[in-house]
């Protein structure tokens, strides 16, 4: 079962830094949604993901952390310094860091997760295959996972996490390395996963997440600049022009925001793939 996530006055300051990476961040991510954390580079997106995954300490020793987080109704104060896997699974922005390099095939790389969870070998294939299928990487099963292209390796990395059936899946910049076709496939897959998994993804560009996210959080210099539904975000989107890829995007979003009570909005929602 998926579960809700919240943070309460979460502040993180890395050792030797004067200003906090996150500053009193209080957000509430509803269960079974896809939440996009948007912001330019260095604005705290990855720090927030690290806090939710319980890996703040693993990545930055000596960080000072205040506030609390809550996962599935369980409060964690202080913020946990232990990896919350498999409740929470984390896909890094660089998949090559995630692939162990200790297994010879992509299939075995995914099976490595199940080994670690103590799931007997004879049950591996039935559990792994559906994920390889839906991620479009079944044909890569026998390939060496360290010799895949960026997009392929990323999908293998996602499979290694999904196969653990986490309640929460965190992804750091999952769309940036993918071409349009694979972005679309990943978006459909994430939407399917909502039934069982709450998904939080960090991205620096709006266009990558507009058709995927239900819930949007914008971070600016470690503070929450916006939090709300994708629908509410449409009305505020042009305020964050560093997140828009071009002037044409900005012009399009400006027009879009004036159309939310027009008859055409229904068709726009369809193009956006918004069902919620």
């Amino acid at each position: 079962m998926s579960c809700a996530i919240s943070t309460n006055q979460l502040s993180v300051t890395y050792a030797g830094q004067a200003s906090p990476a996150l500053h009193s961040v209080s957000v509430r991510i509803p269960e079974g949604t896809i939440c996009a954390i948007l912001g330019v580079t260095g604005t705290g997106k990855t720090t927030l993901l690290h806090a939710l995954a319980g890996v703040l300490g693993a990545h930055q020793s000596g960080a000072s952390v205040e506030g609390s987080i809550s996962i599935g109704g369980v409060d964690y104060q202080p913020v946990p310094n232990t990896i919350l896997f498999p409740t929470v699974a984390f896909v890094l922005d660089d998949p090559t860091l995630q692939i162990s390099g200790m297994r010879d095939t992509a299939f075995d790389e995914v099976a490595f997760t199940l080994d670690n969870l103590g799931i007997p070998r004879e049950r591996h294939a039935e559990r792994i295959r559906p994920f390889l299928q839906s991620l479009g990487i079944a044909h890569l099963s026998d390939r060496n996972p360290t010799q895949l292209s960026g997009g392929e390796a990323q999908r293998v990395a996602i499979a290694t996490m999904l196969v653990a059936e986490p309640r929460i899946l965190l992804l750091d910049e999952p769309f940036s390395a993918l071409d349009a076709e694979n972005q679309h496939k990943l978006s459909l897959l994430l939407k399917d996963l909502r039934k069982t998994t709450t998904i939080v993804l960090a991205e620096s560009r709006v266009d990558n997440v507009l058709t995927t996210a239900d819930h949007v959080i914008v971070l600016e210099r470690g503070r929450v600049a916006f939090e709300g539904s994708h629908h509410a975000f449409i009305h505020r989107i042009v305020e964050f022009d560093s997140l828009l890829p071009s002037q044409v995007w900005k012009e399009t979003m400006e027009r879009l925001a004036t159309m939310t009570d027009q008859p055409v909005w229904k068709r726009i929602r369809k193009v956006m793939g918004w069902t919620t």
Binding site: S149, G150, G151, S176, A177, D179, A180, E181, H184, R205, D207, L210, T211, S242, L244, P245, S246, Q247, V248, W249, E251, T252, R255, L256, M259, V264, R267, I268, V271
Partner: protein, 260 residues
């Protein structure tokens, strides 16, 4: 007729024992224009490019470059007229450094300003910092940029690319789009790609291939207006274009200056 850069006249080609991979394909592009070729895998796009650079010879039909029939010219003669890059960088990288790789074409063609062409191409694709590295020490996307720089450095009047942005990240795609946009007015561009978001704004015309034949040929706007062509060609209209259509905004903004 004088300014026709490339003209294909009923080009047909069949691999041995197979139905024609390219059948009766005709198009023409003027100097300084950009033709975007789209179609499903196996629609004949890559075969068409190989016919253009002489690796394959048409079984019938004619090909004109700068008004001259060239279907019987040698591969090296054709290379002076058109640089072609293929989808997989592994098929064409062989030199021991990025700089040598990029310099191979213009030096072979004995370009008087080869050094300048190489320097500009490396600069355009942000490869100057790794010019002395071995291409195979670089990540795959960077190797892809090396092949594109190699084509640009040839200084040929015509350029053809097969899926130049496949496997690239967004910033890398922008780099490729900007590099090609910069040469567009001087050189004829022929781009095979599924990446409409990147290349539709560059294209002056679109050719849709389906099972080796031309399904559609015309300006980008009429291509977009005909959804069924896009579906048959296996391409999706980018989100931005779909939204702009619903919002009654012009579909293709000729210039979409990108933020850094």
């Amino acid at each position: 007729m004088d300014d026709i850069g490339i003209q294909a006249d009923s080009l047909t080609f069949a691999y041995p024992g197979a139905p024609p991979a390219v059948q009766d394909v005709s198009f023409s592009i003027r100097r300084g224009e950009c033709l975007l070729i789209v179609g499903h895998n196996g629609a004949g796009k890559s075969t068409l490019l190989k016919l253009l650079n002489g690796i394959l010879r048409p079984s019938s039909g004619r090909l004109f470059i700068n008004g001259e029939a060239v279907q019987n010219r040698s591969v090296s003669e054709l290379a002076r007229l058109m640089a072609v890059t293929f989808q997989n960088p592994g098929d064409q990288l062989f030199a021991s450094t990025v700089r040598k790789e990029v310099a191979f074409g213009p030096e072979n063609l004995r370009h008087p300003n080869a050094d300048e062409l190489v320097r500009n191409a490396l600069h355009a694709l942000h490869l100057s910092h790794c010019a002395d590295e071995h291409p195979y020490d670089l990540p795959l996307p960077t190797r892809k940029l090396v092949t594109i720089a190699s084509a640009l450095a040839m200084g040929t009047p015509h350029l053809a690319f097969d899926e130049p942005t496949a496997g690239l990240s967004h910033p890398e795609k922008l780099l490729v789009a900007e590099s090609l946009a910069a040469v567009r007015n001087d050189q004829t561009l022929l781009i095979v790609s599924h990446d409409l978001q990147t290349f539709l704004p560059l294209a002056s015309s679109v050719l849709v291939l389906h099972r080796g034949r031309v399904l559609f040929s015309g300006p980008p706007q009429s291509f977009i207006d005909r959804n069924h062509h896009m579906r048959k060609a296996g391409v999706r209209l980018p989100l931005l274009s779909r939204l702009r259509r619903l919002l009654s905004l012009p579909l293709i903004a000729s210039a979409d200056p990108t933020r850094k």
